[in-house]
């Protein structure tokens, strides 16, 4: 781990045109890893490097990258440091508003607030302080936003290791007033029918209003951690299967210090695993349309050990330090509409058919975002690398895990859907899909035109018209994006957000 927060900057080489609507910054997170495949680190844990790309429109325009390397114990006094339980490792989620960015881990630690213009860390959002019994905390990776965007909400809880499992304790909801900077906290009481503290972790959250009342929704992944510490030694072990994901709903009451959560009906019944990312249409103040995805992956586990073909890691050169976990089978995209008296559920799930690539697939959905008109939905799917699915994880899910003899490589995919129907936005020219695309993308632009920006440190930045994913209008690269000295950034960044603060 690097001991300080430091920054570097350099220009990218731009081919094509940066549209005027993209004057601003793209923000993303990267995980610094050793290139030696013999070393192991779990996917949550890495030196986090935050990247800001400043876009100056033109043909070719200019893109300048700013790196911020984050100290995981930033401003934490020495006596409070309890390795390996870092205070922050913001290598995953990005929550931006005005000149502030709150960057988060997949699961562990506190969000880090960064001042976007100066690209410097400002403070830790650690409302709950770990102790000896509960040495780590968990926070929502992707915050909820009030419909007027004034308030940001996230959950925070302690994590403690009791017997063979990790349990959440003291679950709280924190609200940030983005106008005044003030904060308040509520204690969150779990739904009576979903009160097991194992698996009470929430990757994303959303807000909506109904009949003048305000609500928060929390996507409970159902991931059950066996250990707070990284596995030592790294070997096959018994896996406690995840439970089906649920969504907790709580009414936000100013006068109360506690919020009682209930279950959103129909979600647990779908039986999906790792409900993780979302976008929401909460306009109108009469409910919401939620778009979310199920990974169908045991996100509490780590990719290590013998794979589903019986191959030892030393025989599998795809192994790298800090691997994300592979899906057990193809995932699912959900459209949940709750407006006035109407509730409806639509889903999209599809295997990969090599002979019918125009149909797309739903293997390991990652990003999900509506366009500015909320008419179209964009989703990225990571695909499948069969040799990276560990045997001991697959064994825990005999009814879900894919048949190793019937599966091959599934390429990554970015696809556009009709938001209303959740049907791929088919056309003969295949403008609605793009295979082998990086997972991190965002919809950006102005009211007149939307653009899709995709990014990985290796591929660089690609910009498309949202209407046409078959033609790149701008591509920008730099070898300095790929490495920090002789380490590299793996896995690829998961998320990308657009910010107009400059």
């Amino acid at each position: 781990m690097h001991p300080r927060s430091e920054s570097t900057q350099f220009d990218l080489f731009v081919r094509g045109e940066i549209p005027s609507a993209l004057a601003g910054s793209l923000l993303t997170t990267a995980s610094r890893r050793n290139k030696e495949r013999t070393l192991f680190s779990r996917w949550h844990d890495s030196q986090a490097d935050l990247i800001r790309l400043d876009l100056v429109p033109g043909k070719p325009g200019r893109i300048r990258a700013f790196f911020l390397s984050v100290d995981p114990y930033w401003k934490i006094p020495q006596p409070q440091r309890r390795p390996p339980f870092y205070a922050t490792q913001p290598n995953h989620g990005l929550n931006a508003k005005s000149d502030k960015l709150w960057a988060t881990n997949l699961l562990f630690g506190a969000p880090l607030e960064i001042d976007i213009p100066s690209w410097k860390p400002r403070r830790l959002l650690r409302r709950i302080v770990p102790d000896c019994e509960s040495p780590q905390i968990s926070s929502t990776s992707h915050f909820a936003w009030s419909p007027d965007q004034r308030y940001a909400y996230y959950h925070q809880s302690l994590l403690n290791q009791s017997d063979e499992l990790v349990r959440a304790k003291d679950i709280a909801i924190v609200r940030i007033d983005c106008e005044t900077g003030s904060e308040r906290m509520w204690k969150l009481l779990p739904p009576s029918e979903d009160s097991d503290p194992c698996g009470a972790n929430f990757h994303s959250a959303f807000c909506y209003e109904e009949y003048g009342r305000k609500f928060i929704g929390l996507l409970r992944t159902g991931a059950i951690l066996e250990s707070l510490k990284p596995h030592m030694p790294v070997t096959e072990h018994e896996v406690v299967p995840m439970t089906a994901s649920t969504i907790w709903i709580a009414e936000l009451k100013e006068e109360s210090s506690e919020l009682q959560a209930t279950l959103l009906p129909g979600i647990r019944e779908l039986g999906g695993l790792a409900l993780s990312h979302l976008d929401i249409d909460a306009t109108g103040g009469d409910g919401f349309v939620l778009y979310a995805n199920y990974k169908q992956a045991d996100v509490a586990e780590e990719t290590h050990g013998i794979n589903i073909y019986g191959e030892h890691p030393s025989e599998v050169s795809e192994h790298y330090s800090g691997m994300t976990v592979e899906a057990l089978n193809f995932g699912l995209v959900l459209r949940y509409e709750k407006r006035s008296a109407k509730t409806s559920i639509r889903t999209f799930n599809r295997p990969y058919q090599p002979g019918r690539t125009s149909q797309g697939h739903s293997w390991l959905p990652i990003n999900i975002q509506l366009d500015s008109q909320r008419k179209r939905l964009f989703c990225s799917f990571s695909g499948f690398r069969p040799r990276l699915l560990p045997q001991h994880i697959a064994k825990a899910y005999p009814d879900v895990a894919v048949d190793p003899q019937r599966i091959r490589y599934v390429p990554p995919l970015l696809m556009r859907f009709e938001a209303e129907t959740l049907v791929p936005d088919y056309d003969k020219s295949r403008t609605y899909l793009s295979y082998t695309e990086p997972m991190a993308f965002c919809v950006a632009g102005d009211a007149s035109k939307d653009y899709i920006c995709t990014f990985s440190t290796e591929t660089g930045l690609r910009i498309y018209l949202a209407d046409d994913l078959s033609r790149v209008i701008c591509h920008a690269v730099s070898p300095l994006l790929m490495n920090w000295r002789d380490s590299h950034f793996r896995p690829d960044p998961a998320h990308l957000v657009f910010s107009q603060t400059q």
Binding site: L12, F13, R15, G16, K35, E36, N307, I308, Y309, E311, V316, S317, E318, P351, Y352, Q353, P354, G355, R356, T357, S358, Q359, R385, P386, R387, V402, P404, Q405, R406, I407, R408, Y409, V410, P411, K428, R430, S434, Y435, T436, E437, E458, R462, S470, R471, V472, H475, V477, S478, P479, L480, M482, N483, R485, D486, H488
Partner: protein, 279 residues
């Protein structure tokens, strides 16, 4: 890819071209879904880049690559395809750049790596019939005409490069002693491929896609720059760095070596993509 119909000649030429054109049109009309035109699926594909020794020279304005590629294959003739920027020039150049770099580094190039030494003898081959494809249609037509076929997931990689404004170049090569045995593919070594294009930054090559034979690629890659640099390889570790002289010009060098996995790998004994698979 192995070319099952390396040449089209005589009176059959017209028919082969027409047939390839018809199938290409049918595939395009079917949104490039191979199930509608199953003839396009590659059959018994077994050809891969096994090892590559590359010298990348970047002078601040231009990227120049000199390469020695070692390919494995089962068949009589093959083609090697890859994306390049449309303003790149591609030629065969026997300037001895690799040899000179190795001489100054007191290196045996690929033979420094035990993984390469294990492979055994290679046959020297030359690249010929360089071709350029500007569209997916051009590319598929050529692959059908030569009965090489394609795989949907591999084609998508090329489609994405074309979408980004790159072109796809193809070179043919043929061993003097071909192999018919999957367990004992011919190892072919081609030196002298040179690619040059203007760019103010170092640009690395994409990872090779798995072609059914070699799951990994063995690399020796040396970056030469006119100024000191911290540029590192996306996957390979830095083994040594220093200064050397080439054509009376001084360069800073960084050498990266190792083994990387191909893209698109599948499990052992699992067949390649074929019609009506569903997973």
């Amino acid at each position: 890819m192995a070319l099952r119909r390396p040449s089209v000649e005589g009176p059959d030429f017209f028919d082969f071209v027409r047939q390839a054109n018809d199938l290409t049109q049918k595939l395009e009309a079917s949104s490039w879904d191979f199930d509608k035109v199953p003839e396009v699926f590659a059959k018994d594909a077994a050809a891969d880049v096994v090892a590559k020794e590359i010298v990348h020279i970047h002078d601040g304005k231009t990227m120049t690559r000199f390469g020695r590629l070692v390919m494995g294959g089962v068949g009589r003739q093959f083609n090697l395809m890859g994306p390049i920027p449309p303003n790149a020039s591609l030629r065969i150049s026997y300037r001895g750049v690799l040899e000179e770099v190795n001489r100054q580094l007191k290196s045996k190039g690929l033979s420094d790596l035990p993984e390469f030494r294990k492979l055994g003898k290679t046959q020297d081959v030359e690249f010929y019939n360089y071709e350029i494809f500007y569209t997916t249609r051009d590319l598929i037509f050529w692959l059908i005409l030569h009965d090489a076929g394609s795989f949907p997931s591999s084609l998508e990689v090329m489609v994405r490069h074309i979408a980004a404004g790159n072109i796809v170049q193809s070179n043919r090569y043929a061993p003097t002693k071909p192999s018919k045995d999957l367990g004992k593919p011919t190892l072919m070594s081609a030196t002298g491929l040179m690619v040059q294009f203007p760019t103010p930054v170092v640009e690395w090559m994409d990872k090779p896609i798995y072609g059914g034979l070699a799951k990994d690629t063995i690399h020796v890659e040396t970056l030469l720059t006119t100024k000191p640099t911290e540029v590192s390889h996306p996957y390979l570790t830095l083994k040594r760095e220093g200064k050397l002289t080439l054509d009376n010009r001084k360069y800073y060098y960084r050498r990266f070596m190792g083994v990387t996995p191909k893209d698109g790998l599948r499990g052992p004994h699992i067949s390649a993509e074929k019609p009506a698979n569903r997973f």
